[in-house]
Symmetry: C2
Subunit: 234 residues, 2 copies
DNA sequence: ACCTGAACACCGTTCAAGT
DNA sequence: ACCTGAACACCGTTCAAGT
């Protein structure tokens, strides 16, 4: 039995930054980020909106805190795994976490001040690459390419109206009906002959691109190491 | 001499959906998306906010229109180029356009109704892959992987506090000072020994990942074609 | 130290009224 | 057909006042 609070329920539990953050995340998960207002969050916590400012300096601070909490949910790469499986697992975890908190992806452009969970996460990823034999420059390349792909995929998953494969089929049907086939022949073809086929699900595209990238990075690391060896060893 | 309107300037030019959209984009470019309000947009056009509703059904419609206009700025892949250079050029163009309109990237999750420019763009990309010898399944893979990477990179560019290399250096200095080196050793190492080095610029990471992906997709296409041939021929 | 009520300067959007 | 003024139901945030 948790201290979780039904909507409108009274609560004598003490307010705290953690409780504010967790409730805010839950609210955004359930109703979308646009439903998260200070007033509504206060209500959910059985408190006036103004009380929140005792635990959060403003709404921006609230959002930063939420983002960092979400980062904390991501599985860190394990030292016991080799770099590729370690990063593959954490990449899959990133995608799962972003699917659980779809609002988070569009909010991370705040940029400036990453929280401690965010920093720890990035540090571990970098460490995994370095220990895996990546040079500093190659680590920067790999980090950039991998994270771009992962966050971009999560973005894409939200942008495309597909969700489950059944839903995809339903929506694709509608889109097909609305699409002038002559004007967009390739969209028509892909939708009709591929997306609408039973068993198709956009989410399975994730691992294809991920493995493509991981394998390519491994190759790049090896040729990078070879050229460095050739240059120093003669 | 355009009909462009200085802030607060009177204008007797007729309002139109295009003029509303273009001014809105300019406003978002200059002041960020959060400065784009119906009232401010009206003011910029020398008109009351309520007049906008004659050309745009609501703010969501306004944002959809802006997004589609931004898509229209992206260079379409050329039929005269081979698939790889065609997609490389348009990928670079996507990134340039998103850098010009940073607010656009976070807004495309609206999903449901893509505009005509968006559809035409996607159709041409799919057509380029199909003409380049990609199977239907491989086209879906490539489209997903490539666009995930591109949009993700644009997102990353906004999320990281780096901009120009000089600015990167300045910010990295500050970050370094604030970072407990013992707690985040790999972040420390990368920042100090790589990002802070003269000539480093995050934006150059873009082409590394792009070419890595394009080459890997070409390889995947070839082995896909070979296995299909073997299955039917053998 | 924490919470509240009233208030301020904003939002998007409606609606009846003007031209 | 297009534009406006007043109004409504919201926002985030402040500040003095309560306990």
């Amino acid at each position: 039995m948790t201290a979780r609070n039904a909507a409108g329920g009274e609560s004598r539990v003490r307010l705290s930054r953690d409780r504010v953050l967790l409730t805010a995340i839950q609210l955004a998960d359930d109703g979308g980020i646009e439903r998260l207002t200070m007033r509504r969050l206060g209500e959910e916590l059985g408190v006036e909106a103004m009380s929140l400012y005792n635990h959060v300096s403003n709404k921006e601070d609230l959002l930063h805190g939420m983002i960092d909490a979400v980062f904390g949910e991501i599985e860190l790469p394990l030292h016991s795994d080799d770099w590729k499986t370690a990063l593959r697992k954490r990449s899959v975890s990133v995608r799962e976490v972003l699917a659980r908190h779809p609002w988070a992806n569009g909010l991370m452009d705040s940029g400036t001040n990453p929280g401690p969970a965010t920093l720890r996460h990035h540090d571990r990823v970098l460490g995994t690459l370095r220990s895996g034999g990546f040079s500093l420059a190659m680590t920067a390349h790999a980090f950039s390419a991998l994270d771009s792909y992962i966050y971009g995929f999560a973005r894409q998953e939200k942008a495309l109206p597909f969700d489950t494969s059944e839903q995809a089929a339903a929506i694709a049907q509608v889109m097909l009906a609305g699409l002038p086939a002559s004007e967009y022949p390739y969209l028509f073809e892909l939708t009709a002959k591929h997306v609408l086929q039973p068993g198709y699900s956009y989410s399975s595209e994730f691992t294809f691109g991920l493995d493509l990238l991981l394998d390519a990075l491994e190759t790049a690391r090896d040729s990078d190491a070879n050229s460095a060896q050739a240059a120093s060893g003669g």
